[in-house]
Amino acid sequence: MLKDNKLLLLPFTKKTTLFEFNMSETIKLRKGLNIKLQGGAKPEVETLPLPLKVALKPTDFQGLTPKLNVKADDLVKAGDALFFDKYHPEIRYTAPVGGKVVSVNRGERRKILEIVIETDAKAGSVEFKKADPKALSGDEVKELLLQSGMWPFIKRRPYGVIASPSEKPLSIYISTFDTAPLAPDYSFVMKGQLGTFQTGIDALGRLTDGKVYLGITPDSAFAKIKNVVVNTFSGPHPAGNVGVQIANTNPINKGEVVWTVNVQDVLFIGRVFETGKVDFTKVFALTGSEVENPKYYKTVAGAPVASVVEGKLKKSENKQRIISGNVLTGTKVSKDCYLGYYDSQITVIPEGDNYEFLGWAMPRFNKFSFSHAYFSWLNKNKSYVADANLNGEERAFVVTGQYEKVVPMDILPVHLLKAIIADDIDKMEQLGIYEIIEEDLALCEFVCTSKIEVQKLVRKGINLMIKEMGS
């Protein structure tokens, strides 16, 4: 963590000649925790055939109220709008592949859960304008992103919701590495695609009067990317979280808006400009201790979970939990679900819904603990099998000082959460609700002795802020 006075000075240094010096300096984050789990992906990519079905799920987008453009049996091309945002009709959500809309699945109170497309390789794509983003104006870039359905990949801080096309972001932040457990290695995933990535970056650069910031690790291949400000970070998880990177360079104050984009999603944007077509092909890391041969798979966003995991899991008598995303922030899915829109990882771990005799009193050599109350400190390099068991019951806040050790931001996590529990909007604002989203405090939830549902609380606080203050 930066010294406080340095944090205060940074806004100055960015504007002076010291700036060059800052670029090469590695920002060392000390707080945090790397959870070493078994089942990391081997550097090997297998391209999967086009799945039979693909789905777009409105529930992947925080706070969205979808309005349908299509109905069952409609034929769509890749890039045709399936639905749009009721309150921002210009934000379109387009079909990742062409084919026939087979069903619109609804849940309680007719809430739209998924729009399922039966894929057809011959359905074709909508032709968008092919252009060098550097030759376009900001408004032209924005228009193309909205038309092609790329806009939803741009999220905003505060709150981690989809950016509003009418607002002016201070800057755009992209993290090129993920430090979460078993996370994909983007230097490997993006190999050979850095040109397209550059195109995407150039397009995003048109959307802000400020700068595009790239968070990288030392010796990263992304250091070659141009027209960006590079911030080098080292340290344990959550150093790769874009929120942590913002907080340690230009922390967000009240009234400020910063946009963020996931690294693979920049590729989607780049492809539209380079080819004039949408191409939602991305690489997923299939990881976790329950996976037979963990490695990378190339498929399309919104592919069925089964199309990636079927036949690749270990045979087990015990229940397995499939997670779209990583073990800290992902979503529990079943084989008949579809992969999350923003996810680049699938993790499979044991469900762990079993009792353990006197578990709290056992030495538990094979279970990981951040505290030294168990013996995992004996072997720092050991990788563990973690299951989804809570390892205890929920209790009131008792132990203090735990959360602070895993949050490398100038934030008092426990007190911010207490403000959220108390629905105290002023306190939430003062204590930094604008700077965080769920993933930034996910480790607090992991280390918590009292098993408090930290990420759920964070979203509760954010939703209250949106409701009371507007976005």
């Binding site: 504007k15 009131a396 918590c448």
Partner: protein
């Protein structure tokens, strides 16, 4: 274990809502989760969770307390032997003492857990683990001659009025074990102070010549510093005092366990020591009487200082919850201990009151630490706006 699990699974429906014995649901739950870590899995947020839970945390604290319990038991036998000129082996001393401590522990646990179970049942939630530690802390900070009914009364008072009325473990303002002790101290001062209560059976019997049973703190308060036991004796704990508090060495072993496991805050422990040395140092600079001139470090080994700093001040529920606040909180305890000990003739020991006082102040300290944090964040925004 399978058969035990099957037995519990078979009986469980009886205790669930609608079952015949649903009135005892919390009680059943407490025993079930004691025997088996539950099969609950993550429903929201993080899918994996650390293996630590409140049961383990409390277990570690109890393990850290064991050296003081073992030494304290031995010391009861040893002090009694000194008083009446009885020769016993180490084992005999220990057994002699342990048999005196055991009833106090049974009463403390019985009354405290009993209340916890009943309250949990009334409120319809799980039995919290907080009392597992409180139940052993209470005997360790009492004199060995304490009548058992007083232990029961004090425990009941502390658990009900010190904890349950605030909402149970995690919501109490003051350390529960210290409330029990303070209750006895003010309600039954004759059983909690003086020279006769600290050594087993001393009251009403004649000890060997030269044995008084007075604690070093009592001598210090009488400005009789020449009578205070040697630093080594006090450090090892070969002195009269509350059951678990006499041996600084045993406490230090516990401190090592708490600090290494990360369960006790080293910041509070260190700050308390620094505060004591600071205030003791000031006294040494202006030695108006004998007590003020005893070396500042002596305070660290006298009375309940070490025990309080390691096991009481660090109680996370009642201490400061901010990391900066912990430094202030601990330092203030250190200062207050010396102030009460040296300048208040009514109370030879200051640790209990110092901690209770700072328990009350801890939220205020946190308030100012958080205000400072908020101000700094606002300044950050202003600098940026003006840049």
């Amino acid at each position: 274990m399978k058969s035990l699990r099957n037995f519990l699974d078979k009986k469980k429906p009886l205790f669930l809502p609608g079952g015949k014995l649903s009135k005892f649901g919390s009680t059943f739950g407490a025993f079930e989760t004691f025997l088996f870590t539950p099969n609950h899995t993550s429903k929201t947020g993080s899918h994996i969770h650390d293996t630590i839970d409140l049961k383990r945390t409390m277990t570690v604290v109890i393990i850290a307390l064991l050296p003081t319990l073992l030494f304290g038991s031995w010391n009861i036998g040893y002090q009694n032997g000194l008083a009446f000129g009885v020769e016993r082996s180490i084992i005999e001393n220990f057994i002699f003492g342990f048999l005196k401590v055991l009833p106090i522990m049974i009463v403390s646990y019985g009354v405290g857990l009993g209340i916890e179970f009943i309250v949990a049942q009334i409120r319809g939630h799980e039995v919290n683990e907080g009392f597992l530690v409180t139940g052993i802390l209470i005997p360790l900070i009492l004199p060995v001659n304490i009548p058992l009914w007083m232990v029961a009364l004090a425990t009941a008072f502390a658990v009900i009025f010190g904890k349950e009325i605030f909402g149970g473990t995690g919501y109490n303002v003051m350390n529960v074990a210290l409330i029990a002790r303070a209750f006895l101290f003010f309600a039954y001062p004759s059983e909690m102070s003086g020279d006769l209560v600290w050594v087993y059976d001393l009251a009403g019997n004649t000890p060997v010549d030269g044995f008084s049973g007075a604690t070093p703190l009592a001598y210090a308060a009488q400005n009789a510093s020449s009578e205070i036991a040697s630093f080594k004796d006090m450090f090892l704990g070969l002195i009269p005092g509350s059951i678990g508090e006499t041996s600084t060495l045993a406490v230090l072993i516990g401190a090592a366990v708490l600090i290494f496991t990360g369960i006790g805050s080293w910041k509070i422990m260190l700050a308390t020591v620094l505060g004591t040395l600071f205030m003791g140092g000031i006294c040494n600079l202006f030695p108006a009487n004998e007590y003020m001139s005893i070396p500042a470090y002596t305070h660290l080994v006298m009375g309940g200082f070490a025990f309080g700093a390691v096991f009481m001040a660090t109680d996370p529920v009642t201490a400061s919850s901010t990391e900066k606040g912990k430094w202030i909180y601990g330092f203030m305890i250190g200062i207050l201990v010396v102030l009460i000990r040296v300048f208040n003739p009514a109370y030879p020991e200051g640790m209990m009151l110092a901690i209770l006082l700072m328990n009350v102040w801890a939220p205020l300290i946190d308030y100012f630490v958080i205000e400072g944090h908020v101000k700094r964040r606002l300044k950050r925004a202003k600098i940026k706006a003006n840049a």
